[in-house]
């Protein structure tokens, strides 16, 4: 028996794999969310609905401090990175090619290509030296590091918009318009990721991870 309706775009089993992928993608996250409302300490035994962990987190000094710190770093890094990236985008789009343009482009996108651990190690060495030399121990290190890391994430979508000349090219397209640049746009989440890293660091026992934004 032939198929009653022929569809050229149909590929057998693809929809099943896709749906399975979405389930697998969401199940672990949703489980984690569900168990945040669990009354017991366990993540495998359900002890009834409760907001006690939210209360605990709310009242925890370390969490409070970390949250404030995260917000400060995220806000500062966002402002700095977006400002610098917008200026750079204005300076490099819709212009005749000039000597050094490639240099600017490579420099700005360089954080995207370097593995996180390498960036982390580099910043550790660098900041450790500054710390030894100056004795400074504030949030400046993290703000500077995150600003640098966020610049390409701000630069690429802004540049894409400027080149398009109009704002209609949003949503999925700007996320992944060109394969090579795609991830750049979609990794704009960096400020968010940055804030999470910052949140994690006071809880870390290792001095190394605490001074490195990428761990």
């Amino acid at each position: 028996m032939a198929e009653p309706r022929f569809s050229a775009t149909h590929l057998p089993g693809f929809a099943a794999v896709a749906v399975a992928a979405f389930v697998v993608l969401y199940l672990p996250i949703l489980t984690l969310v569900a168990y945040s409302f669990n009354d017991t300490m366990s993540i495998s035994v359900w002890g009834g609905f409760s907001l006690r962990w939210y209360e605990a987190a709310w009242e925890n000094r370390a969490v409070q401090e970390a949250t404030v710190r995260s917000l400060i770093i995220a806000a500062a890094a966002s402002v700095i990175a977006t400002t610098a990236a917008t200026m750079a985008a204005l300076g490099t789009t819709r212009r005749r090619p000039f000597k050094g343009q490639t240099f600017i482009y490579v420099m700005i996108n360089q954080p995207l290509m370097v593995p996180e651990i390498v960036t982390a190690v580099a910043l550790l060495i660098f900041f450790a030296s500054i710390k030894t030399a100056t004795g400074y121990t504030g949030l400046g290190y993290l703000i500077l590091a995150h600003s640098a890391f966020c610049i390409p994430f701000a630069y690429l979508p802004i540049r894409a918009r400027l080149e398009d000349g109009h704002g209609s090219n949003c949503g999925g397209r700007s996320l992944c318009h060109i394969p090579g640049r795609s991830f750049a746009g979609s990794r704009c989440r960096s400020w968010r990721r940055a804030s999470w890293r910052a949140r994690c660091w006071p809880l870390s026992s290792r001095s190394m991870t605490s001074s490195s934004p990428n761990l």
């Binding site: 590929l11 896709a18 600003s147 630069y155 190394m208």
Partner: protein, 302 residues
């Protein structure tokens, strides 16, 4: 070219540089500069309590690949390092393959949905992507650990007697990396499939191709740039992965990222760590170069 035109052009270029300066300064100070310092550190001597002694040495690079036997002083391969490098490459390659096998049908599915629903599915793929890596890693940790959902369901269904030990194995690292990097594969694949001219499918079927032949002879060759892009986007961060192997692989199943970190922690061998970091960077650059080459070749006649 007239003199005034020339001056205008120079002014334009100067403006370009001026506007780019703030970004460049931040990046030189906090990204490119530190990388150069890493390169310098890889040629120095380790300090006793971490950090370095400013004394030039090629020992770190030597130790990346080779080692002297403690007893007879013969030269041999640094097996421990090579094992870690090999595991990193193996796991990253497998991660890339798994994400492709799962990601391609997913991207195809999204791209062939009606436009209104397509945006929703695309959004669903990007949400986990926006969720913090650490959280996603812990989430998958909860699923695969011995008392986790997977094992308790399998035991509950009577399919297995005892929980399968997945956590702290290479398999766990593999599952975790495939899980966290899947969206990085799906998005460029989607972009490529979205550009794919679906009318070519009808041409293929019209010319007697089966579903499988259409996939292999028409779809895959044409969306190849997307496949290459997705593979690079998954392979590069997999190779440098640090969080996922640490949480899911435990202390034993190290990848390069963990091993580099170790040199700056307990290992107290900053030059070796620096050399390994530079090595990792070089591997990634080579991979990216291959990608750019492939992308340019594809784009040449398209």
């Amino acid at each position: 070219m007239s003199g005034s035109e020339e001056r205008a052009r120079q002014a334009e270029v100067r403006t370009s540089w001026l506007l780019s300066t703030p970004a460049l300064v931040i990046l030189v100070v906090a990204a490119a500069g530190p990388l150069l310092i890493v390169l310098v550190y890889s040629f120095l001597t380790p300090g006793t309590y971490g950090n370095v002694v400013w004394q030039p040495s090629g020992k770190a690079w030597f130790n990346v690949f080779l080692q002297r036997d403690i007893f007879d002083d013969t030269l041999g391969w640094a097996d421990a390092h090579l094992t870690i490098v090999w595991r990193s490459i193996k796991l990253s390659t497998l991660t890339t393959i798994i994400t492709f096998v799962v990601g391609f049908p997913t991207a195809w599915f999204i791209a062939t949905q009606p436009p209104a629903r397509r945006a929703m599915w695309l959004f669903l793929i990007t949400i986990p992507f926006w969720t913090n890596l650490l959280i996603r890693t812990f989430a998958i940790n909860e699923v695969i650990r011995n008392e986790g959902i997977l094992n308790s369901s399998l035991v509950g269904l009577g399919l297995i007697d005892r929980p399968i030990q997945i956590l702290y194995t290479d398999t766990a690292v593999l599952i975790g990396m495939a899980y966290v990097y899947l969206p990085l594969m799906v998005l460029p694949l989607f972009a490529a499939i979205d550009r794919f001219d679906m009318r070519l499918l009808e041409a293929g079927y019209d010319l007697y191709a089966s579903r499988w032949k259409v996939l292999r002879r028409i779809i895959l060759p044409i969306v190849k740039p997307g496949i290459v892009a997705g593979s690079i986007l998954v392979f590069v961060p997999s190779l440098g992965a640090y969080v996922t192997p640490r949480v899911l692989g435990g202390g034993k199943n190290m990848m390069i990222g963990n091993f580099i970190e170790l040199q700056f922690g307990q290992g107290r061998n900053w030059p070796l760590g620096s050399a390994l970091a530079i090595l990792l960077l070089l591997v990634v650059m080579v991979a990216l170069l291959i990608y750019v080459r492939a992308a340019n070749r594809e784009g040449g006649h398209g």
